[in-house]
């Protein structure tokens, strides 16, 4: 099992969710994060003073998937989150040692 963590542009999150839904993914955990990268931040001005804002709003999606489907999931995210402009984000994949469904205590692939 893999844990896929995708950092995407907030306005693309809904797209990604729908696409994942279509390929049968039923569980996602989402959170608001701030990202710093190649995409330049911006400068804000208040009362004549400059404020550099390095971190831009991004959305983080975490999805636990079985070993079989994870490539397809990565692929789907990459395609639907993409706008082609700098700052589109990253996908990170880590190994999951174990997954538990709290309600039932089920473990492993069944718990996903």
């Amino acid at each position: 099992m893999k844990l896929i963590t995708a950092i995407v542009k907030p306005e693309q999150a809904e797209n990604v969710k729908q696409a994942l839904n279509k390929i049968g993914i039923r569980g996602i955990t989402m959170s608001e994060v701030k990202g710093y990268g190649r995409q330049k931040g911006h400068t804000e001005f208040y009362r004549g003073s400059e404020y550099e804002v390095a971190f831009l709003p991004k959305t983080k999606l975490e999805i636990a998937v079985s070993g079989k489907t994870y490539k397809k999931v990565i692929d789907t995210i990459q395609k639907t989150a993409r706008t082609g402009k700098i700052g589109d984000g990253k996908i990170f994949v880590t190994n999951l040692v174990s997954v538990v469904r709290i309600r039932t205590g089920e473990k492993g692939d069944k718990a996903i």
Binding site: E44, F45, Y46, R47, G48, S49, Y51, V53
Partner: protein
């Protein structure tokens, strides 16, 4: 016999007229009283919650409770000082430089005492709301680092040492009033005192630790906008109420106030737009406050064209004053009390005489020449700035001796003043 009757009747008519006239001046006018009651409500509303929100939105989120508590706490303690001695020191007696002790604890001010054709007690209340907002304005200079207790003590001393004398000079029949200085609603008494004292406190207190590089942007422009809107609305009572009557003078003061605020808003917006490509709301509201502060001393003397001129000027002059003080001189007058209120108040005071002339649609200066009046205005500005400077310097020295002005560095940088000084946190969502 007929002549006799005629004479008698004429005399009687005369007496009647006289007594009618006298009666008019000694009888309470309920319409004027209603408006000054309302104006008192409005000016209090400017501080609570207006100014508190305006300032709270501009600081970082860990200091929002601290900023609000400063305004709130100052309002409470200053009210008591006003009742105990502030009113007496400002408005009792005929002294040239100071009031006297006759009305300590409002002694002798009864439900029936009149001040003009409104209750004297109402005049006490109306003036109290001005005494509240003035030290609260100064809060903007020292937020995000001052000790709460020090700020309260400074404010109390400041009312006695700086505010009361100046109020007496200008509005209480003191030497500036006798010279004929024009300050309708507080260009000198409120804004010049606040602005100059702000700078003095900042110089003695020091900048925020991360100033200028690491300061965060205003954490909630909307909170500040709510506050600014309340200030704008309340200013109708601030300037309109200073007519101490519900009449054409009050209405004109309201109109010119509004026009100046609007013009300054637009001016600041245009400068921001052309400099940075975008008009920000923080700029717009700052412009409004600049326009409001600037028109204050002139508001009862000028016409709408004068208001427009003051608005445009204040938008430009205060804009560049902010940059001058903060960016060039690196003085951390954190929320620009001097640049917006001080500079605005002085500018309006300076131009009050000129714009009051009929040439600018004002109500006229009577027999005084523009030059003479403007000289008086300048004397007013200099003397008020001077007492603010000296008085506030002394106060800061005293309070420094009492236990210091600043919170710890850890509190300032790490935990924030909300938790550090008040043990509370905003946004427990």
């Amino acid at each position: 016999m007929r002549y006799l009757l005629l004479i008698i009747s004429l005399v009687l008519v005369g007496l009647q007229t006289t007594s009618a006239f006298t009666a008019e001046t000694v009888t309470l006018n309920s319409g004027n009283t209603a408006w000054i009651l309302t104006s008192s409500v409005l000016v209090l509303f400017m501080t609570l919650p207006g100014l508190a929100l305006f300032y709270a939105g501009l600081v970082r989120s860990r200091n929002i409770i601290s900023t609000t508590a400063l305004c709130y706490g100052i309002a409470a303690v200053v009210s008591i000082v006003w009742f105990v001695c502030g009113y007496s020191f400002s408005f009792s007696g005929e002294g040239k430089y100071f009031g006297n002790f006759a009305k300590l604890f409002l002694d002798g001010v009864t439900v029936k005492s009149l001040s003009g054709d409104i209750p004297e007690i109402l005049f006490v209340v109306f003036q109290m709301t001005f005494a509240i907002i003035t030290p609260a304005l100064i809060v903007g200079a020292y937020v995000e680092r001052i000790r709460f207790s020090s700020a309260l003590i400074i404010s109390v001393l400041w009312i006695i040492i700086v505010y009361a004398p100046v109020a007496h000079w200008v509005w209480g029949g003191g030497w500036l009033a006798k010279m004929g200085v024009m300050d309708f609603a507080g260009g000198l008494v409120v804004h010049t005192t606040a602005g100059v004292s702000a700078i003095v406190i900042v110089l003695m207190l020091g900048s925020r630790k991360r100033f200028p590089g690491g300061i965060e942007p205003p954490h909630s422009p909307i909170l500040s906008t709510i506050g600014a809107a309340m200030l704008w609305v309340g200013w109708y009572g601030f300037n309109g109420g200073s007519a101490l009557a519900a009449n054409g003078n009050a209405a004109m003061a309201v109109l010119v106030t509004h026009i100046s605020a609007s013009a300054a808003t637009v001016t600041w917006m245009i400068i921001d737009w052309s400099r940075h490509g975008k008009p920000g709301i923080v700029g717009m509201i700052t412009g409004s406050i600049a326009g409001l502060a600037t028109v204050t001393p002139a508001s009862g003397y000028i016409g709408p064209m004068g208001g427009l001129i003051l608005g445009v000027l204040s938008g430009g002059v205060c804009y560049y004053s902010v940059i001058l003080i903060k960016t060039k001189f690196k003085i951390d007058d954190s929320l620009d009390v001097m640049a917006v209120h001080g500079v605005g108040g002085m500018l309006g005071t300076l131009l009050a005489g000129v714009l009051a002339t009929e040439a600018f649609g004002g109500l006229g200066l009577g027999k005084v020449t523009v030059g003479a009046q403007t000289s008086v205005q300048i004397i007013g500005i200099i003397s008020v700035a001077l007492i603010s400077l000296v008085g506030t310097y002394i106060i800061c020295q005293i309070v420094k001796g009492l236990g210091g002005l600043r919170v710890s560095e850890k509190e300032e940088i790490a935990e924030g003043l909300d938790f550090g000084s008040h043990g509370e946190r905003e946004y427990n969502i």
